[in-house]
Structure formats: C-alpha cells, structure tokens
Symmetry: C2
Subunit: 373 residues, 2 copies
C-alpha cells in the first residue's frame, strides 16, 4: 500500500525480492508505528532470523518471506548435482520452517513450491524457485485484492466499522484481509469511519492498524478494548470485520486474536453484522472441533507490561501492573459460526456453516493434496 515516507508517497509491499543482489527486502515492523524503515536480509539464515525476531509478522507476510527465503537459499547452491541440491534445499527449508515453530504459513508456502520444483537441472530448479516464490507472493496479493472487492460492498457512505487487532496489509504481502474491504471502499471514495480496538496485550490495533489507516488517510479512532460494547449500545457501530488465524472448514469456527469472540457476542446482541475476512490458506479442513485447537498461552510479561516510545523518543517497555502479581495470557479465542454473519473469501461471502459445502470452490482439492502428501 501507499506509504508516505520522508515526505514522499510511494507504494510498498511488506516483503519483496531483489533478484540482482539475492536480497530480501522487508519493512522492519517492530519499529512501527514510530519509524518506517526497510531492511535487507542477505542470506536465507538472515531471512529466517528476521521471521524469528518478528521483523515481519502476520500469516501471509511470513509465508511469502519464507517462500522468498527458499528461493534465496536455492540461488547460493554451487554445482550441478540434483541430489546435493535437494539436500541443500532441505536444509534451507528446515532453517526457515523452524523460525516460528507453531506457524503453518511458511511451511505451507514452501511445501507448495517444493511440490512443483521438479525441473531437469539445478539451474532450472533455481529459476523455478524464483518464479514460484514470486507466484506465491502474487497470489497472496490477488487473494487479498479479491477479498477487498467482494467485502467493499458491505461498506457504504457513513458506515462505522469496528476491527480488532491487525489483519491489515502488514500481515500479508499487500492489502490485508480485514482491511482490504476498507481500502477498496476508500479507493471508491466512500466516506466511512473505522474504530480500531487497541487489542491488548500487544496493542497491534493501536500501533499497526491505526498506522495503516492513517497512511491511507482513512478516518479512524483508536478505542480501548473495553469501549466497543458501549459504542454498540449507543448505536455508533454498524459493521464488524476481523481477520482469522485459522478457520475450521468443517464447522465454521473461527480462531482469531483474543477478544474477537467478545466482539462477536456483543455484535450478535446488538444485531450488528459480524464478518471474518480470510484468504483460502487460512482454512483448516482437517480439525472437526474448535475445542481441539490448542490456545497458545503467551508470556505473562505481555500483560504485565506495555511497549512504546518515551517522550524523549526512546523505545522501551514499562511495568504497568502490581509487580508481585502473575498474569494469564491466552492469545487466541474461538468464535462459533452462529455469531458470524459471513466469511469474506476471495471467491465470495460464504456462511460459516457452508464452508464445507463450498470446499471445491474454496480450493479444498489443492489443499487436500498437500495435507495427504
């Protein structure tokens, strides 16, 4: 998306490949919203470290970064032996896959590349790696764009949209999932307003989504996570759009950032449409119950502290809680299908309980092959 940096407005993706130098270029997301900076990773090991250190984060974005990383690693191979090349690639794969052990996107991205890297020579396979990584990133962009065009119809002049956490373009290669309909509507000159939940404990809504929206000049306000119920009660929210980390194709249950379930319960009570925007790679066709999804409990420090910038411009974290207290930090929750008005996918808006019926349209066959290979 467009970013205004040093007074100039320019289009950026979260990640892209510099083929001449064999470098991957990334937005250093840990510095946002206070600083916009592009960094380069000069080897696949550096790329893996950048994923690990969360220089880049978000399902689609780390998927594409790993895909580029695999291509980057392929280029440095010296020699012509297919077997040694495959061994080398397996090492690169392992290095990139282990950067975020619980994330599925890097693995899916690289596996889908490997399943098609069958060229007759090493030179040919190196080229294939470049092409397939580029194709993966392009697909991510296209999927998000389609979500935008389809979801944009939900936003009218005057609509007040609530979103939670950051399912924005920073989490993908471009456009984002929950934000894509907003960017499309903005392109069509619709005038609407967005409420960004702060999204404690990591405050991605206040930091990243608000930054994204302000870069595009979209009217928005940050609110405490506590405030959305009150705003709904007073008739100040018309529509909710969130993203998802994993959506169950068999049941229509949606896993997303902690707090999403609460927004869905509130929206239901107030008769406010609640949509989830997802690319196809987010659908899990295997698991048949939300209770089987393990909910990651992250470090209690995230709840006990806050991260930001002091008045003197120093980046730091501070203790905001009673020092001798402990915290619980479940990071995701599960929203049942009866609270969801529709799932905005690249192939249309689908009722959560009808995902399974629409599985062929939603790419189940391709994914099934991957699952069973």
């Amino acid at each position: 998306m467009k970013v205004t940096h040093n007074g100039k407005s320019k289009h950026f993706r979260t990640v892209w490949f510099d083929k001449t130098k064999n470098h991957i270029r990334l937005i250093e997301q840990r510095l946002l919203p206070h600083q916009f900076k592009i960094i380069s990773t000069k080897s696949y090991q550096e790329t893996s470290q950048a994923i690990k250190d969360m220089v880049v984060r978000g399902a689609g974005a780390i998927g594409a970064t790993a895909a580029y990383g695999l291509a980057q690693g392929a280029q440095i191979f010296q020699g012509n032996g297919i077997k040694t090349f495959e061994k080398h690639i397996a090492k690169v794969f392992q290095t990139l896959a282990s950067a975020r052990p619980t994330a599925i996107d890097p693995i899916n991205a690289m596996q889908s590349m490997l399943s098609r890297m069958h060229g007759p020579s090493v030179a040919n396979r190196k080229l294939q790696a470049l092409d397939l990584a580029e194709e993966f990133a392009e697909d991510d962009v296209t999927h998000c764009q389609k979500i935008g065009h389809i979801g944009e119809q939900l936003i009218q002049n005057g609509t007040r949209v609530l979103t939670h956490c950051n399912a924005g373009w920073l989490a993908f290669v471009d456009h984002g999932s929950a934000t894509a309909p907003m960017y499309s509507a903005h392109e069509k000159n619709k005038k609407f307003h967005v409420f960004c939940d702060e999204t404690r404990p990591r405050s991605q809504g206040a930091a990243l989504t608000a930054w994204e929206l302000s870069q595009q000049g979209i009217s928005h306000d940050i609110i405490a996570d506590n405030a959305s119920g009150h705003l709904m009660q007073r008739g100040e929210i018309d529509l909710v759009i969130v993203g998802s980390d994993r959506t169950l194709g068999k049941t229509g249950e949606v896993t997303n950032k902690i707090g999403t379930y609460t927004k869905a319960v509130l929206a239901k009570r107030h008769g406010i449409p609640f949509y989830v925007a997802i690319p196809l790679s987010t659908i899990d066709w295997k698991i048949n119950s939300g209770l089987k999804i393990p909910i990651e409990e992250r470090a209690s420090e995230e709840v006990l502290r806050a991260w930001g910038v002091s008045d003197s411009g120093k980046r730091l974290s501070i203790s905001i809680a009673n020092p001798s207290s402990t915290a619980r930090n479940p990071s995701f929750d599960i929203t049942p299908p009866e609270l969801i008005t529709g799932i905005i996918t690249p192939v249309g808006i689908i009722q959560p309980k009808k995902l399974w019926k629409n599985r062929l349209k939603l790419g189940y066959d391709n994914i099934k092959k991957n699952l069973c290979s």
Copy 2:
C-alpha cells in the same frame, strides 16, 4: 486493610484524621502499586488539592476525605461569631466541593454533616464537625463490611471470581465494595481465585486491585480485558462481582467503568452469575433512564499512552499508539438490569428491578430529604 510495608504488616485505611495536629493522612494512591507511602495534608486547601490531584480517588474515599477536610477547615476558625463561622465553613465547603466537580460523594458527605452541625456555639460546632466526619468514615467502613458479610456467601472453596477495575478498599475508607465479599471469604479461610481485568485505559485492575489482593495473600491473576470471554467459554469463571459509580434506583441500571457492560453480556451468555456491590450512597433515586446519564469522555491521551515504571525504576508514560491517530475514550458504560443477577447492598442482595420497591430499607427517606433540602 492489612498492608505489608518495610517488612511489617499493619492495618491501614485510605484516609484518617490526626486530631492532635489537625492533619489528614492519606495513602498516596498515585504511587501504587510501585510504592506505598502515607502523606499528610496540613490544611483544608491541601486536602482539596489532594482530591483534585487524585492522591486519593474512589467514591467513598473522596467522600470521607472531604468530610475530614470540612472538619479540618472548621478547626482553624478563630472567634465566637456563629455567622462568621458559617461564612468560613461555606468557603471551606466550596473549596473541597470544587476539587472534583463531577463527583457527588464529597458534596453528599459534607451536606449531610452541615445538616446536623447546629450546636449552640462555635466551639460546639467545631467538635460536632470532628465527630460527624468520623461518623461518616465509620459508616463507610460499616457499609462495606456488611457488603462483605452478605456477599461472602456467593464465594465457595474453588470459586473463580472475575472483577473489573478497582472497586476495592482503596476506593473507599476500608474493605471496598466488589472486593469486600472476597476479603470476608478470605477471612473465613475459603480458597478461591480472582481474575482481575487489567481495565484499560487506566489499568486500575492491573495496578490497584492486583496490589490489594496480593497484600491480603489472595490467589489472583491479571488478564487482558480481551481474555474474559475466552475464559468464560472454557468454563474457567464461576462468578462476576463489580462495583458501580451510580445505580439507578428507579430502573436498576448500573453505571460503572467502561467494559462492565461487556462482562455482563458475556456472563449472561454463559449463565455465569453477575453481581454488583454497592454502598447505599451510590444509588441515584432521581434519574429514570440510563440514557439520561451523561457518559464522561476523558482525554484521548489515556488510550494513546500507558503509565508505569521503567526497568530503572523511573515513573513515566509512553506512547503505545500510532502518533498521528486520535482516540475515543468513553469512561463509563451502563449495564441494564436484565443482565444483573443481584445487587449486593449493606442491607441484603436485591434484584436490580426491585431497588425501588425496597427503597425505604435502602435509605431512600434520608436521601430524599437531602435531595429536597
């Protein structure tokens, strides 16, 4: 309540009066949870400033502080003329009442004193002021204790209680409202667990309620405001108890810290009992609709920043949000009676819709006199 300070455990109230020196002593609440310190105000002007600067905060606590402040101001009067004394007292009253213009408690506390300060001489009225201020503080303590004894029955061994914000002893003279049942249950050696909502934007749950509970050795965890829905979904919360800033006697609607309504909606969905603990002074017998309660929108800075202590021990605030974004900050919300299981009052647990029917028991007559005087 008991506070362990410099290795010694001692009982403290939030505010008390040193008659010998004509000083009011206060816990400096702005330093909590990182530092426990007692300060003295040496004049009624200093006392007013302490209320204004939020050295002391919370309905009951500022009510008692203002009552003591009126007595403190009365003592410095020189002379015997009743008329001049009354003029002096009016000035003291005005100074203390203007410290927190929207708060009703200091005014109610001082008015109830004035309505009974009719002694024959100045000397007599000075003594009356001291006695009446002490009586006000004692009543606050007794009311909270009664809430504790009545509400304690809701807590069993193993109960997991959720509370929001700080309706603890720091907000009153002692015991608190929402926390009083917990302290009573703890005294009876019941083993239970408390989840403290962080309560953004001011984080009173993470800072004050968690500090209170840890001082009493009550098992607790801080959670992000986003997490309670998930915990309810997984069956990890059995009971919710919150406080209230204003409860409508005519409708049973409860005004409390932003986010309370959301907890009530979630509790209803999960069939979890939701109680509101209030002293009688919190009941508003006049207003007949929650929509008539103005909802204070506080400074957006509260949402855009966080306050705490750095690793080097420095107290500071940091920016946690996109710098060019704005924020909305409604500070209270209104919970309708159908979401409330019961109101825990000093005279028993009452259904919210039956407050009016029980108005005589709830002290409506006394308050009516005040309202109409």
